[in-house]
């Protein structure tokens, strides 16, 4: 299984939270911007790709025990969200790329969604 660390390096993502980048395996991926859809579709240890950057993203990621969140299109979480992410030990990653591009790259790395 691809590790979070490997994904961050290969996709050249910026880490904005201070949770340690680990060899935590990423079980799969999910992309959506509607939080209830994420609640339904994302599973434990999944990586979530979204352009939402507000504090509730952290709440959702924490409730679902996600491996991390990739925030796309240059959106950046505010200090409050980052503080909350640190508190909940959630890895927040940012990239200027679009969700579509990121999902494509993740797929090439072997990170799959629910079939």
């Amino acid at each position: 299984m691809t590790s979070l660390k490997e994904i961050v390096e290969k996709l050249n993502l910026e880490t904005v939270s201070s949770a340690e980048l680990t060899d935590r395996p990423v079980a799969g991926g999910y992309a959506a911007d509607l939080l209830s859809c994420v609640m339904k579709g994302a599973k434990k240890d999944y990586l979530w790709v979204t352009l939402q950057a507000h504090v509730n993203v952290v709440a959702v990621a924490s409730l679902l025990n996600l491996a991390g969140v990739i925030i796309t299109e240059g959106n950046r979480p505010d200090q409050e969200s980052i503080a909350r992410a640190d508190e909940e030990k959630i890895t927040l990653l940012v990239t200027p790329k679009t969700t579509y591009t990121v999902v494509g790259e993740l797929t090439l790395l072997g990170v799959r969604g629910e079939s």
């Binding site: 201070s18 209830s36 609640m39 339904k40 507000h54 709440a59 409730l63 679902l64």
Partner: protein
């Protein structure tokens, strides 16, 4: 890339732990007038390679096996240790953190450090081995304390006996407070974790509670209350508000139906999936609403999939879920 350095537990501890907690206090010492011959016996009997020289309470030097060998070579074994001791002392303060000792070990390449108080009196002695042992002991104490509190939380339903024990957790949820959205369900999730509930059940309760909490934030005029009642067999989450009420409950239950305004949808809420998600996660749910009065949502999750009918062979209730 902004990489904030992270500290391991051991790294944290060497900054937090004072030297006095890891040093050895039963120090073998000699006085300035001890002879080198006597010193030889003291080192041999105690199997050590050096001792501090103490005059009264005050540390005045240190004498090692190396100094003894030199004295033997020069035939000066009758001399008192004060003549041959080293007075260039490498000391640390007992109140300093262990990291200061680690630095001095690295800087001076010595095998032991003398620990003094701020008056220069000898308080103890410290080797690399003492640091390792002290850190391991502290880590194991912390771990043990954590284990105990987990154990206590886990057994709350066995330790407290009543005809029907339940633990009620109440969370006040403010209207339109999106900054705090998810706080109540996060706290509930953590509580269930502490109580030792199985992860899959925690997940179902957490998702249901989150959606119910969001509904209070998005729709209830004056916010509302989210309550979780935990029983050995069942968890009941209730969300109660005082308006505006849902005109058509069936419609509200249909996937994709949402009355959330655009600005809320832009935040990613109001997908019209919330109640569906709850229904999917709950063993049962009940939604009652009266326009102008308020809405009550009750979500029930059974802690055991067999609904608590089976008991284990000795007839006691199986406490595996909570």
């Amino acid at each position: 890339m902004t990489q904030v350095p992270k500290f391991t537990k051991v790294q944290e501890l060497i900054y937090e732990l004072p030297i006095e907690r890891v040093m050895r206090k039963d120090v073998v010492k000699v006085t300035p007038d001890t002879s080198m011959t006597e010193l030889k016996e003291i080192l041999r009997v105690n199997r050590i390679s050096g001792v501090p020289v103490v005059d009264g309470e005050m540390l005045s030097g240190v004498i090692s096996i190396e100094d003894l060998i030199k004295a033997l070579v020069q035939g000066d074994v009758q001399a008192p240790v004060k003549k041959r001791m080293t007075t260039r002392l490498i000391t640390v303060l007992e109140s300093e953190s262990v990291v200061e000792a680690v630095k001095k070990f690295a800087q001076y390449k010595v095998g032991r450090l003398l620990v003094v108080n701020d008056q220069g009196q000898l308080r103890g002695i410290l080797t690399g081995g003492d640091i390792t042992r002290g850190l391991l002991e502290t880590i194991s104490l912390d771990y043990h304390a954590d284990e105990i509190s987990r154990y206590r939380a886990k057994h709350i339903f066995e330790d407290i006996v009543s005809d029907q024990t339940s633990l009620i957790l109440r969370y006040q949820v403010k209207a339109k407070d999106f900054k705090k959205a998810g706080n109540a369900s996060s706290k509930l999730k953590r509580a269930l974790d502490r109580l030792g509930a199985v992860p899959e059940l925690i997940r179902r309760v957490a998702i249901s509670a989150y959606e119910a909490e969001m509904n209070l934030i998005i729709h209830a005029d004056g916010g509302g209350e989210l309550t979780a009642e935990l029983q050995p067999e069942v968890i009941r989450v209730t969300a109660v508000d005082h308006g505006p009420g849902i005109p058509n409950v069936d419609q509200a239950m249909s996937p994709g139906f949402s009355t959330a305004p655009n600005w809320i949808r832009e935040l990613g809420f109001g997908a019209g999936m919330g109640l569906m998600n709850i229904k999917r996660c709950a063993d049962s749910m009940k939604l009652q609403s009266t326009v102008g009065v308020g809405t009550q949502l009750e979500i029930v999750v059974h802690l055991r999939q067999d609904s608590g009918e089976q008991q284990n062979p000795n007839g006691r209730k199986e406490p595996e879920a909570l």
